[in-house]
């Protein structure tokens, strides 16, 4: 099945870094979004692929948590994994992420190449 790497982060520099890292780590296509809203709009049109989502928490407008609620509301039947990728090392954020079923793991920035290679397989 075709896999797609999705990066959602309001920091465009980070998005640029993640795109370039991804191009080195994998052949899968990469999509970056600067907000949760944009990402939701994108997912509305998607189907039939495996989406590996890297999600920042702290974003203006829709934050990471709100994105997950909206994503869940789409009721899409495609396969996906969500990895929180945040600069926050706050315990409360980690605990919250652990309590949400859709989230696979919590990753503190920066994202290392070997880690990305492992997740993008």
């Amino acid at each position: 099945m075709e896999k797609v790497l999705i990066f959602i982060d309001d920091d465009s520099i980070i998005n640029m870094i993640h795109s370039r890292l991804a191009s080195r780590a994998t052949e899968h296509p990469v999509e970056t979004f600067l907000s949760g809203e944009e990402a939701i709009e994108y997912f509305k049109t998607q189907s039939g692929k495996f989406y590996i989502i890297f999600l920042d928490i702290n974003m203006p407008g829709m934050d990471g948590w709100e994105f997950i609620d909206a994503f869940r509301a789409l009721e899409k039947d495609f396969d996906f994994t969500i990895h929180i990728l945040s600069s926050s090392i706050d315990r409360s954020d980690k605990e919250k992420a652990a309590s949400i079923e859709e989230i696979d793991q919590y990753l503190a920035k920066p994202l290392e190449l070997p880690k990305l290679q492992e997740l993008a397989k």
Partner: protein, 915 residues
């Protein structure tokens, strides 16, 4: 008077005969006339015609009326003889009346003849009855005389029968005696046949041994006391009919001799030539005779019974239980009845000439001798009980009656009748024993049994040996006044008024009263009378019977517990110790009915006492304004403090210890006692009591209070400690508050008022929640429930914090600690004003939050560019394949610096997270 009336007319003139007959044309009765005017015709008609009335002319040619009258009366005829004549001379009239003429009718007044005849007939009937009656009376007298005089019963009966039969012209008379108890068989005893009428006795009568029950029509009326008459021809019982006919009897009357209970015999009176119709007079006559005959029977029976009784008496004397003895004037036995042998084993001749004294138990002789001596004055004396010695040892108790018959010629001795009363005596002994036992029981129980005669005012008491009655009551005798005298003066009048009232009420049966007396040792005693009122028919009280029991011990115990109760209640209130002691002394004085009392408390070093409370019913005794402090050993309180024991002054006027003699005299105070108030080895103070009575009464209360002085001490000590606590309560800076299970405030300290700004008055009695802010009430209400439900384990519930809004509108935070006292249903709360602390806490929290915010900013906002920097560094390392060693070294340092900064951020984050 119905039936044909036969009239004989003696008249020679046919016209006059017609004239007479003409008068009877309208006569109510059928008439038959016969007429004649010669002597021969007249005599013939008298015999054959049997006239009922004779009407006669006075002068007839060959016969005269007077002679006719005389001829008629010669036959003892009673029928009317009336002269009907033209005129009657005075001489003739007299002669005719002498001869027995009934009436005269002149021919001018011939129309009166029928009335005269009716009248004459009536008179004749009466006369005939009278004559018959006279004859019967005569017969009865004869009959009775025969019965009474003739000792030979059979002969007397026969004579009587003859009188009866002749009087009534009876042909045969029978008398049957009824034999056996069953009234079944009647034995013929007498069969009298009138010999004059030519009948001879036919030999044994066929109704000898007549079975009466075979002829119920005879037997039944006889058994009921009724006579029966039969005409044999008409009898229904064939057997009886044949039997009587064989005897030649045509009619018979059978009369019972019945005494109302029993049939004694039967009289039979028979006619053999005619069928008799019995008339009432004859029956009456027979009844009278029957009654007389019956009494004769009864008399005879009584005589027989007497005879039997005499025989019995004789055998009684010889064999009965009564010992009969005749003593000489010197009390020697002259005669002894036979029964001495069976009763005492003496033969009669053993006893002859023996002094009676030797037969009597020596211990009893004096009373026997006294009774015998008394016979000189009285002819008759008795001895209730004494003992006679039996021959072979042992005694019997006898009751004796002595009769002086020394002067009676046929006796010439003292007749002694003795009846054995051993059983009776035994009973008496038992009774005596039970009385003695009762007396002892009464002694043992110390109950005084009394019987007060209300009429004489005498009281009978069964006294116990250890009687508590004073000596003077014994000496002055038992009157109710003597009893009254020993009663406590305080109770005396009330008890007697009550008693009088109850005795006056007919419905009151029981008296139950308790009061005090001064006993023989001068001690106060409580007694309880329980009595029964004996009343006469109209309800007037005659006697009061009952028992007095000493209830002192019980009363003492009751009074003791009452006093303890009073003392406890007085000191258990929230009042100050002074107020508590004041109500305590009031209570003690009232309960003990003393004149007054005081409480003195010692200093802590027990060197002096201070008057703290007094209650005197007489104000002159009051001490408060005068001397109210005593040092040890001075005055009555000082003496108690020195001696460490209670003191009794039974006469204040003579006391060296007591100083207030004037006051005592003025208030009529007689005695005083002081009881120490003890706590452990300390004397906390003393209680003084005053009495207007003698010291004895006070002694009772002294003893009583002495016994509880330690308990009083404990109560007083507790109150004193409480007072100290009270002080702490008041001065504590902590907020102290007591409220009940209903949440009402009962007690607050000064701090509460200070903190809340509400006065004690505003707080007391109000619900505690009224002072809590609205938003805290629910929490506090839940807490209150928890406290009560905790059932004494409230300490575990810990502290609770809340705030209140003070009167000034200031918000005050308080922290509560509470203790629940279930017995009192009270909650004790100690609260601390934590407003300042709460304020500080809020500041810290606010600062912490700020710190947390900073940490978060660091975590998110500081670290975000760091993470970006680190990522860029990574990317640089990845994308630039060839770095100079210097470049690589610099990149490495950049990485190390970034990582160091990241560690610092992580450490700050860790610390703030734990705030």
């Amino acid at each position: 008077m119905r039936g044909e009336l036969k009239i004989l007319i003696l008249e020679d003139v046919p016209e006059d005969v017609d004239l007479i007959k003409f008068q009877f044309d309208d006569f109510e009765q059928d008439l038959e006339f016969a007429t004649c005017f010669t002597k021969s015709e007249y005599l013939q008609l008298l015999h054959n015609f049997k006239p009922d009335v004779i009407l006669s002319d006075f002068n007839m040619p060959n016969f005269d009326g007077l002679e006719a009258l005389q001829l008629y009366r010669q036959n003892e005829r009673l029928e009317p003889f009336i002269f009907v004549t033209g005129s009657l001379g005075e001489e003739n009239a007299v002669a005719s009346i002498k001869s027995g003429a009934t009436d005269f009718i002149t021919k001018e007044k011939i129309d009166q003849l029928p009335v005269a005849i009716i009248k004459a007939l009536r008179e004749a009937e009466t006369k005939r009855q009278n004559l018959a009656y006279e004859a019967q009376i005569k017969a009865i007298n004869t009959f009775n005389a025969a019965l009474v005089k003739n000792k030979k019963w059979q002969a007397a009966l026969k004579d009587s029968m003859e009188v009866i039969c002749r009087t009534l012209s009876i042909d045969r008379g029978f008398y049957f005696s009824v034999s056996g108890k069953h009234d079944r068989i009647a034995d013929l005893q007498i069969d009298w046949g009138a010999t004059g009428n030519g009948r001879q006795h036919r030999g044994p009568l066929s109704f000898q041994n007549l079975p009466l029950d075979a002829v119920p029509e005879i037997l039944d009326p006889l058994m009921a006391g009724q006579h029966v008459t039969f005409v044999v021809r008409k009898m229904k019982n064939e057997a009886a009919k044949i039997m009587l006919r064989n005897e030649g009897i045509l009619s018979i009357l059978i009369m019972p001799l019945h005494n109302g209970e029993q049939l004694n015999g039967i009289l039979g009176l028979a006619d053999c030539f005619k069928e008799r119709k019995w008339v009432a007079e004859e029956i009456q006559f027979l009844r009278t005779l029957g009654r007389d005959l019956n009494s004769a029977f009864e008399k005879r029976r009584a005589e027989r019974a007497l005879q039997a009784s005499e025989e019995r008496f004789r055998s009684l004397v010889q064999n009965g239980s009564e010992l009969i003895t005749i003593l000489s004037a010197s009390y020697h036995i002259e005669f002894a009845s036979e029964n001495y042998r069976p009763i005492l084993n003496y033969a009669a001749n053993d006893l002859e000439a023996l002094p009676f004294k030797e037969l009597v138990h020596p211990a009893d002789w004096p009373q026997v001798e006294e009774a015998l001596e008394a016979l000189h004055k009285n002819n008759y004396t008795e001895v209730d009980a004494f003992r006679l010695k039996a021959k072979k040892g042992g005694t019997i108790w006898v009751h004796a009656k002595f009769s002086n018959m020394l002067l009676v010629p046929s006796v010439r001795g003292i007749v002694t009748n003795m009846i054995e009363v051993s059983t009776l005596k035994q009973k008496e002994q038992e009774l005596k024993l039970s009385q003695t036992r009762y007396k002892y029981a009464s002694m043992a129980s110390e109950d005084l049994v009394f019987d007060w005669d209300l009429e004489t005012d005498k009281v009978h008491r069964v006294r116990s040996t250890n009687s508590l009655l004073p000596k003077d009551l014994e000496e002055n005798g038992d009157t109710i006044d003597a009893w009254r005298h020993i009663m406590h003066p305080h109770d005396r009048d009330k008890i007697f008024v009550d008693l009088k009232e109850k005795l006056a009420r007919p419905d009151v049966k029981h008296i139950d009263q308790e009061y005090r007396i001064i006993d023989s040792r001068g001690n106060l005693q409580y007694v309880h009378d329980k009595g029964y009122v004996v009343r006469n028919k109209v309800g007037k009280a005659l006697r009061l019977v009952g028992a007095t029991s000493i209830t002192t011990a019980r009363r003492k115990a009751a009074l003791k517990s009452q006093l303890m109760q009073i003392i406890h209640e007085a000191l258990a209130t929230d009042d100050s110790i002074i107020d508590g002691l004041q109500s305590m002394v009031e209570g003690i004085v009232r309960e003990t009915k003393m004149q007054g009392g005081e409480v003195w408390l010692s200093d802590s070093d027990e060197e002096a006492l201070q008057l703290v409370a007094e209650y005197n019913t007489h104000k002159k005794l009051s001490q408060k304004e005068k001397l109210n402090r005593f040092i040890k050993n001075v005055g009555l309180p000082g003496k108690v403090l020195a001696d460490k024991k209670s003191v009794l002054l039974s006469d204040l006027s003579k006391s060296e210890v007591f100083g207030r003699k004037k006051a005592a005299k003025a208030s009529d105070t007689h005695s005083a006692t002081a009881i120490p108030i003890r706590f452990e080895s300390k004397i906390l103070g003393t209680i003084l009591l005053f009495s207007q009575y003698k010291g004895e009464e006070l002694a009772f209360h002294q003893e009583l209070l002495d016994e509880i002085s330690t308990q009083i001490g404990t109560e007083v000590k507790r109150k004193m400690s409480e007072s100290m606590l009270e002080m702490f309560f008041e001065v504590s800076p902590d907020f102290m508050l007591i409220y009940n299970f209903q949440g009402k405030i009962r007690k607050v300290n000064r701090a509460v008022s200070e903190i809340t700004g509400y006065s004690e008055k505003e707080l007391l009695g109000k619900p505690i929640l009224d002072f809590a802010p609205e938003d805290e009430r629910e929490k506090l209400r839940a807490r209150h429930k928890e406290l009560i439900a905790a059932d004494g384990e409230s300490v575990g519930l810990g502290q609770i914090q809340t705030y209140i809004i003070s009167r000034e509108g200031e918000k005050r935070w308080i922290a509560w600690n509470t203790a629940v006292v279930n017995e009192e249903q009270m909650i004790y709360a100690v609260a601390r004003d934590i407003t300042e602390r709460v304020k500080n806490m809020a500041e810290i929290k606010r600062q912490n939050e700020r710190l947390r915010e900073i940490a978060w900013i660091q975590s998110h906002e500081v670290r975000a560019p760091l993470a970006r920097f680190m990522a860029l560094l990574n990317l640089m390392e990845i994308e630039r394949k060839e770095h100079s060693p210097k470049e690589r070294e610099l990149l490495n340092y950049m990485r190390l610096s970034g990582e160091e900064l990241d560690r610092i951020i992580a450490r700050i984050n860790d610390k703030t997270e734990n705030l």
